[in-house]
Every structure is written in C-alpha cells, then in structure tokens.
C-alpha cells in the first residue's frame, strides 16, 4: 500500500513518478480572475457605466434553473452570492439586473489579457478557465525579482479593470489551485509546495461536483487528506485523471501548457466624442491608439512597417492614410516616429467630411534588426537618419519626391541615366563609389526634360542671344535597333549671358536643339 505522498515505492501500484527536485527550475505565476464574467461583460463599450452603479449579476442557465455566476459589488453587499438561483437573488434584491454570461466574450477578454501578459514572459497559457498561467523563472532577473514583477502585473491589471488573485508555485497546476484557494504567499521550493497544497480545500480543485461530493462523504476535505489515500484506491474510486492531476500539482507528472499565440496584426478603434476636422484633435485620438500599438509591439517583441490609419466619416465613408515606414521599427523608437509622420500627412490631406471615429491597423512582424541605443540612450540609426528623413519627406510631399540617379551604358544622352525611385533599397546605407565601367566624356550637369528646338539668328542657333560653338562636334549615332534612331552632332556652346549649353544638330532634319546646360 503506497501512500500518495511520500512516494514510497510500492511494486503493486506501478512505478511512482519521480518527485520534483528540491529547487525546481520552473516558476509559474497564476493570475486568477474571479470576476472575469462580470469584467468581460463590463469591458464592452455599451456597458461601461451600469456595471458599477446598479446591483447587477451575471447568470447562466443550468438545466431548468438560472444560477448567479458573478454578482457585482453592490449586489454582493446585499447578499447575492455566486451559485445562488436567480429567483432567490431577485427576492433579496428586487431591482437586480441580470445579464446572461457570454463565454465567447470571456474567451476574447482572456486572450487579450494573454497578449498583454506577453510583455512579462513568452510562456503564457490561457487554457485553464478564468486564469492565466505565466512561466516567469526566466523573467525574474529582468523585472528585479518576484515581488517587483508581481506588483507590476497587479498594477497593470488594475489599470485594465480586472481583479486578480495571484499565486506562485513551481508547477502550473499548483499555482492555479493556490490562486483559486487564495493562497497568495509565493511558494518556491518543494517542501513549501507540499505544505501549501496540503491545506487546500477540495472545492478549489475545479473537479466535478460529484467527485467533490464523494470526497466529502469519505471525510476528505483537503488535498492533504487525499494524499494519505493509497494511490491505486484513489485512482479506482475517483478516476486516474484525478490522480494524474495530483501528480502534476506536485511536479511528479509533466503537464505541458499550450502557449498563447498572439494574433499577427494589431487593430484598434476609437470613437470620437464629437465630430471634428481639427487635425490636432484627431492626432490626440490617434495618440491613444499608438499607445496601444506600442504595448502590442512591446509584448510581442514585434516591429511594424506599414500602419493604416482610417478616419471614419458619419456617412459611412472612410479616409485612408497609409504610413509606410522605410524600415521596420520596434516599439519605443518606431512609435515615436509615427505621430510626426501622421501630422505631416494630416496637414497635407483635406478631409471631405467631419470625422467621427478613428481606427488603426498594423501587421506585426518579428523584429528584424536588433536596434541598439548609444551611451546617451539615443536611438542609433545605421544610416545616419536617412530612413527617417525620407519617411518625413514622403509623408509631406508625396510618395515619389525623392529619387536617386544611376548610369546606364548607353550612348544616347537621354537614355544614359535612369532615376532610382527607392535609393536606400538600391544603394544601401554603406557608401560606395560610382560605376567605373563607363568611360565618361565631358557631360553637362543639367539635362532638359526634352530637347528644346532652337531658333536661328543670322543663320546661327540662338538661345537668349546668338550661340558661339566652343567645342565639338561629338557625333552620336545610335539606337537604330530599337526605333529610337538618332544621328546627332553635339557641341558645347556659350551664349552672351555666359551660360554654357549643350546643343546638338540633328543630322537628318538639320535642326538645332538644346539638350543640356553645363551649370
């Protein structure tokens, strides 16, 4: 007869699993949200005010009966308790407002909280009822120890409007049970764990009602009582699943947790209290949304590249503003840039109608470049700030205002170069030298968009005065294969004002043209 604990070997009951080492290498923080049904309901936009001001309770149908799940503070103060039939509650508080529990709402709220909790650890699980499980052993040092971390989590949840009971234990299930039982004292070692778990009432284990009844009829009220039973007897009477859960709580059986995977995009909306076209008010609204984006980036270690800002008009139309960032940016430096870009864009946009709502959408990418900060905490930009500059110029002046230049191996002057619309992508941030493959001849610094026909004065070409040919001719004959056949004699010519021009004579039409200026 091997008792459940201590793990005395008993060949008949099968091998007893290995116990947890004295100093376990995992630490689970459980955030138990006892009021989640109420809080998830109150978090809806339409419900904000009434949740605090009138006696209210969330209820659910169970068979034929309607049971209270979570009363709010006012209702609880007047005797409404969880598990009470709705009729009894109404007898106590006749003006009680009953709202039907919505599980999808709770799941969504919990998923959102799990994404939020990603800022503390990447291992967050939201698959155990009203609780989040965070594996925090690896985060303790970053957050200056357990107490500081717990305080930070508590502050954050309070700001979000959630009541929380926290517990810490070396196994996930133990943390969950302790949190449900309200044992907030952190449990970090195995002897502590045994002691803390032994005192937990079986009500808090989340087992089915019948199992609890059976245990109570057997006179077992705490986990400690259960542990005194023989293993095989316990498994036979209550099912092997319960035995495994006990083993998991004590770390003698593994309990893999499914990690919460945050969504890959960020979306948030804001309804404005009044219709406006005022850019500064709109910006203020967007600041709130950017804050949300910043938190999302922080908690997911993500970066953004494109942000879509939507302005909703009362007639259902929308104005779309896309902010393209040249480089993916993470939280602190990137979100700092966005308001400035948006301001430039808003100033350049005329709104067709007043705006009633704002929305922000962004795809989150894994962070690409580990961005450093220098000694003074300044964000180091590998290109000396050119990305930012180009983004700002494009935001105010339009998408195609900045261009670079490159040579092409081509004799016709108008085709001997090309515009580079995205200089950073093509040239990179490192400095380089020009293309040495093209043997260069004297060329003007300015090119006219199209050759300008020149008039004649006393038989000689003229442009603000008669031209005198200084140098030439240089004959260029090319392009017969692609239809752009040219036969030209090029000259350098000066006019009386001192402008040095690049002119040519078309050898077929004998007409003179101005193509460039030596500036």
């Amino acid at each position: 007869m091997g008792a459940l604990l201590p793990a005395a070997a008993d060949q008949a009951s099968g091998p007893v699993p290995q116990p947890l080492p004295e100093t376990p290498n995992q630490l689970w923080l459980c955030l138990y949200l006892p009021q989640l049904p109420l809080e998830a309901w109150a978090a809806q936009d339409s419900a904000q005010d009434s949740a605090q001001e009138v006696p209210l309770a969330i209820c659910t149908e169970k068979g034929r009966r309607t049971l209270i799940v979570t009363p709010n503070a006012l209702a609880a103060a007047r005797g409404v308790r969880a598990g009470m039939p709705a009729n009894s509650a109404l007898a106590l508080v006749p003006e009680l407002v009953l709202e039907v529990r919505s599980l999808p709402l709770e799941t969504a709220a919990l998923a959102q909280l799990a994404s939020w909790a990603g800022q503390f650890t990447p291992a967050v699980s939201n698959s155990s009822g009203n609780a989040l499980l965070l594996e925090i052993q690896g985060s303790l040092r970053l957050f200056n120890g357990l107490d500081a971390l717990r305080a930070r989590v508590a502050r954050g949840l309070q700001a979000l409007g959630y009541q929380v009971r926290m517990a810490c234990a070396p196994t996930a299930r133990a943390a969950l049970w302790l949190a449900r039982a309200g044992v907030e004292r952190p449990v970090q070692t195995t002897p502590d764990l045994r002691e803390a778990l032994a005192g937990i009432h079986v009500h808090h284990l989340g087992w089915p009602e019948r199992t609890i009844q059976t245990l109570l009829q057997m006179g077992l009220t705490t986990v400690g009582d259960c542990l005194r039973l023989p293993r095989e007897g316990f498994a036979r009477r209550l099912g092997p699943g319960r035995l495994r859960e006990l083993d998991q709580a004590f770390g003698r059986h593994p309990e893999p947790q499914r990690r919460h995977v945050p969504p890959a995009c960020f979306a948030a909306e804001l309804e404005l209290p009044l219709e406006t076209t005022d850019a500064s008010l709109l910006l203020e609204g967007f600041q709130q949304l950017f804050q949300g984006l910043k938190q999302a980036l922080e908690s997911r270690q993500a970066s953004v590249r494109r942000v879509r800002c939507r302005l909703m008009h009362p007639d259902g139309r929308e104005t779309d503003l896309h902010l393209g960032l040249h480089q993916s940016v993470g939280h602190s430096e990137g979100v700092g840039l966005l308001p400035g870009l948006l301001r430039l864009r808003l100033e350049a946009t005329t709104l067709a109608a007043p705006v009633t709502g704002l929305a922000l959408q962004a795809d989150l990418n894994p962070r690409e470049v580990p961005v450093g900060t220098d000694l003074l905490g300044q964000y180091l930009q590998p290109d000396g700030g050119l990305h930012t500059l180009l983004e700002r110029l494009r935001a105010r002046l339009g998408g195609q205002v900045v261009q670079g230049f490159a040579l092409r191996a081509e004799h016709r002057p108008e085709s001997a170069w090309r515009a580079v619309p995205d200089p950073l992508a093509e040239f990179g941030v490192g400095a380089g030298t020009g293309d040495p493959l093209i043997a260069s001849r004297s060329r003007p610094l300015w090119l006219l968009p199209a050759p300008e026909p020149l008039g004649l004065m006393t038989g000689r070409p003229a442009w603000h005065g008669v031209l005198s040919l200084e140098c030439g001719p240089e004959r260029i004959e090319s392009g017969w294969w692609d239809g752009g056949d040219v036969r030209r004699d090029y000259y350098r010519a000066s006019n009386p004002q001192g402008a040095m021009l690049w002119v040519y004579r078309d050898l077929r039409s004998r007409a003179w043209y101005l193509q460039g200026i030596f500036g």
Binding site: G384, Q403, F405, S440, S442, R443, G498, I517, F518, G519
Partner: protein, 169 residues
C-alpha cells in the same frame, strides 16, 4: 554652415562651382553614414553622367522635387535636422527665402552648424541687399565662357575678396 550663392540666372555655373566639394563629400574614405548629398528643387534634371564626370559618387546623391517654393526650404530644414546629409543644396526660387523670413534662414544656419553639414542656398543676385545669417555669401559673375568671377562679399569676420575660377567642362 550656411552658404549663400547669388546667381544671375539658373545654370550660370553654380553647380559646377560646387561639384568639386560635393565630389569630396560623397567619396569620403572610410565611408561615413551621413554622407548623402541632397539636391532640393533643382531647376532642371541633374544629369547623372555629368555628375559622375565631375567626380560625385552617384549612389550618394538624392534629388527632392517639390511643388511649392516654400516646401523646398522645409525640405532643406528636414534634411539638415536629420543629420543624414553632408551637403544640402537648395534652389528655393526667387521669392521663397524672402517670404520665409530671416528666422528660417537663421534656423537653417544653426542646424547646419550643429550637424556639421554644408548647406547652400542658391538665390537670385538681387537678394544681395537682404540681411542674411549665412556665414559665407558669394556672388557669381560671368567673365568669359570658361571663367567665372566669384565675389566673396561676406566671409565671417574675415575680409571680402574676389576669386577668378576656371570652369571645368
């Protein structure tokens, strides 16, 4: 530092005069991060083979086109503020700098000094009488098809003077 270059008309040799300095800025060794040269609102298309022939590294040269003259000055301020540019040359048109007023030019001057960038404003010759924060003010005069006269009429606390420059073609 802010340099003002007064010209009789666009294309009278100003870019040719600046290009040896720009060539040096774009081909610094070892390569420097903020070594871009930005041409803002130029009167015509800067011709890549010509720039290359004058020795500029083309992959360090950017052009910004604007719709309104005042935007050219705004872009110039942004370029200087960013610290990404070693040289910023702007052709803001004849009236823009006058409209923008002294304070904007002062700001450009301070920014250029702070970022160690070379800012050049190309302005019309009739702006010569206006007050300007530029440390160096030059006027280009035509002498002959191959030579220019550069009149230095303000050079910090040093004296003014005149230089004859041979044009490179």
């Amino acid at each position: 530092m802010l340099t003002e270059l007064l010209v009789a008309g666009h294309g009278s040799g100003e870019l040719g005069l600046l290009s040896p300095a720009l060539a040096r800025l774009t081909t610094q060794h070892p390569p420097v991060a903020g070594s871009w040269v930005m041409l803002i609102a130029p009167p015509w298309i800067p011709y890549a083979p010509g720039l290359y022939w004058q020795g500029l590294a083309l992959n360090r040269v950017l052009m910004v086109s604007v719709r309104q003259p005042l935007e050219a000055l705004w872009a110039m301020e942004e370029a200087l503020r960013s610290g990404a540019c070693a040289g910023v040359i702007a052709w803001p048109g004849t009236t823009a700098a006058h409209q923008a007023g002294h304070s904007l030019l002062q700001r450009l001057h301070l920014l250029a000094g702070k970022q160690q960038a070379w800012a050049v404003l190309i302005r019309a010759a009739r702006c010569r009488g206006e007050r300007s924060p530029a440390r160096l003010r030059l006027q280009l005069l035509y002498l002959s098809p191959t030579t220019l006269q550069v009149e230095i009429f303000k050079n910090g606390w040093r004296g003014a003077g005149t230089v004859i420059v041979e044009r490179r073609f």
